[in-house]
Structures are given as C-alpha cells and as structure tokens.
C-alpha cells in the first residue's frame, strides 16, 4: 500500500511559484506530475508570467523624505519590545538605575571590577571600540536590547563632579577612552584583562 501522503494543492502551487524559472517546460513537468491540479497550475503559471517584474526597476538612490516619514510610521507601529521601535531609542542608561548591590553582582557576573563597570556606566568608553560580545553579555545580563544599550552608552560621558576639577580644560565628548585604555587603567587583574581582550571583534 502506498502510504506517501499526496501533495496538497497549496504545496504544489507553492513549489511551482518557488521555481527559479517557472517557464513552459517547468509547467509541462508539473502538469505531468500533478494532473489533478491542471487548471490551478495553468492559471498560476500565467499569473506569475504576467506579474510585473519589480526588480527590473533600477535602484534609485535619492534623498527621500517620504521614505524617512514611512520609517517613522513603521517604527511607531512596532511593539515596544522590538529592537527597532521608537521605545528602544529612548531607553535610559540601564546601568545607571541599578542598586549598589546589583551593580556589584553585575561586575562579578561580567568578570570585571566596579571601576571598569562604572566607566562603562558613565559612558566614558568609546562604544565603537567595545567588543560586540562584551556588549551583548552586558545587554543579556540586564535583559535589555543590545541596540538600546549601545545607543544609551553612546551618550556624552558623565563627569562625576569633583573628580576632574583639576583638569586644565573643560571635559568634552572626546574625552572618552578606548576599550583598551579602559582595560589597562582600571586595576583589572591580568586574567580579567586577558579574558576581555579575547572578546575583541575580528
């Protein structure tokens, strides 16, 4: 007894439409294999053949306000948990609201010390130099979206009052240090530094 389930009409039509080249030869072979769906296959082949080829239009690259507007509309339609939604953009720095205890725990979870973590919290490290793997680990530990965390940390550095009053100039955004500088100047152990360096992007 043949127990192979018979392909449904939907599956056959889908398979035909997913063919790279649904031409007369492809159609002929389908008609032979699935004579029971003859009419539907013929109609689909004609539909596909007569469908406009939207990809044929050359890509145009012009500044387009309509696309920007459409993007804003699109973002507003997304759920707040979506990493591309408007809500994700306005995320507060998730590191600055932690209790002292949680802050300590987090430092230990990430295998860093509190000085290093506070530099990260205060946006003192250039985000572009921080390995993605490390940022992902922080986002995961805080259960926030990576994108939101990244944009929060891209904010200008927070200058703790009284800390830099001796500096000759006013602190600026350019005062951010690189990830490597943060590694060597945060009193991290050799082992901690080595582990963090291993995370560096290619």
């Amino acid at each position: 007894m043949n127990t192979t389930p018979q392909a449904s009409k939907e599956d056959v039509l889908h398979a035909f439409s997913a063919e790279s080249n649904p031409n007369a030869d492809t159609l002929a072979s389908y008609l032979k294999r699935y004579p029971q769906y003859r009419e539907a296959l013929i109609d689909l082949s004609i539909e596909l053949f007569t469908a406009p080829k939207f990809d044929e239009v050359a890509a145009e690259k012009v500044p387009n306000d309509k696309s920007k507007q459409a993007w804003s509309k699109f973002q507003s339609l997304l759920s707040p948990t979506d990493p591309a939604s408007i809500a994700s953009l306005s995320m507060d720095n998730p590191l600055s609201n932690l209790s002292e205890e949680r802050f300590r725990e987090l430092a230990s979870e990430l295998n860093v010390n509190r000085l290093f973590l506070s530099r990260l919290r205060d946006c003192s490290i250039q985000v572009a130099t921080i390995p993605q793997r490390f940022l992902s680990a922080v986002a995961q530990a805080l259960t926030v979206q990576l994108e939101g965390l990244t944009s929060a940390l891209e904010a200008p550095p927070v200058v703790a009052s009284g800390l830099r009053h001796k500096a000759s100039g006013k602190p600026r955004a350019g005062d951010k240090i690189t990830f490597e500088e943060a590694l060597t100047s945060s009193a991290l152990s050799e082992a901690q530094q080595a582990a963090l360096r291993e995370m560096k992007d290619e």
Partner: protein, 262 residues
Amino acid sequence: MVIPLKKTTQEGEPYQRRSEIEQALSALCGLLPGQLVERLTCTQQAVPFEVLIYFLRHTELELGSKHLEPIFCTFHERLEAALRKVVSEAWIEHAVAIREELSERIVEMIAKDRNSQEDKMYYWEVNFNDALSKLRTDVLRKYGPARKTDPMINARPLTEESGSGEEVSHEVDIAAAEFINPNPSKIDDIAFRSRLMDAINELPEDERRAVGLRWQGMPIESQDPEVESIAKALECTERTVRNRLKRAIEKLRVMLQAEELQ
C-alpha cells in the same frame, strides 16, 4: 544560519525560498551589521526584494533602528520607484493615491508581521513579484479604473466559439508570434509590459489561458505525446486554441491602442 520559513507544508516540511534567495541570504548572514547595511543599500548591485523583506520582517535578527532604518529606506525607495512604473499616471486615474495605498499597506503588513511573530508574509520572501502583483491587483480592483468603462465588458460569450465554424488559418500563429514578440525595446519597457500583462489578465478565462500559455512558449499542438501542448493542457482541439488566440489578440490590440490614444 538563515532563518527558515516557519510555515510548513502538510507534511510538516518548512516552505522553501527560491534557491537564489537562499544563496544570497547565506552569503549575507555572516556579515557584521555595518557591512550588512552597506551591502543591502548598495545601488550598483541591488539585492532582490525578497532579501530586503527577509531583513525587514524578522525580529530574530535583532537589527536595531540604527541598522534597520537604512535598509528600510532603501526598500521603500525601490518600492516607490517600481510602483511609479507599474501604477502610472499615464494610464490610471488617482495613480498617486493608489501607489500610496499600496506602499502604506506593505509597511503596515511588515510591522504587523514583526509584532505577531507569525509567518503571514512568508510568500513575500518566496516570490516578491507575485505577492506584490496580487496586492496591486486587489488595490486596483478597489480603487482603479471603473469596471463599467472596461472594454472587456462587451466580450463575446464563450458559447459562440464552436458554433461559428469559422476557419482559422496558420496566419494566427504568425500574428501571435508577431504580437508576442513586438518591438523589443517596447516589450522591455516595464510600463508597457505591465499594461500588456494587465490587459491579458482582463481577458475572458479561456482566452487568457491560451495567450498566457502561448506567451510562455508552449506549442499550440504537438504530435509527440511526450510534448505538452496548449491543446492538451486546455483539453481542446488545436482549432479551438487558434480561435481563442485570434480573439484574444484582437482584443488586446484594441485595448492597448485605445490606451495609447488617450
């Protein structure tokens, strides 16, 4: 790894994208977000629409607004450009409103798809052209040219077909070939092609099938039982096929000429 389509066949197998789309996605999925954006927004080697849809609709990819925005804008600009060609002011009233309706519906569909975590837009990754074409047809039916002015309203009923006994010579074949392969620059023009394809879709069912199959290159008849022919596919005689082609071509001429005169 490329995210498989969640929708499955009756046998539980996931539906597949076209192989060239799978290949393009595989090549892209190892890239860092910045590289990915650069590749997807490149205008020299534009990626297929299906690829853009993949990156727009799957939240699992975790692309945040910084990376998704340029991808979205590239998609939207290309969509607008394509719609300007196939829903043209030259031949449809309210073309601007119709294009806006289409574009807005698609944006809303993608957003809904992302929020629902279901797989409602899977076909857009399989065959974007067909999916958009169907949506375009729906919208045109609703907002497009009024049906009462449609020249096909006076089409001859099908029952006349075999009654007249009119002989159709092989000239129909030649006429069909000429019609089907007109001036290459004209048929390559996406706007003309689109009008022609729309006209074919407006034909009565039997004529549309005959023209549609002929256009795809299927022979009208064949002595070889192994070769599929239009007569076999439509289960009618060769003469009937020629009759239908003749009537269809005449109607298409009238429809397209009428449009060109406008």
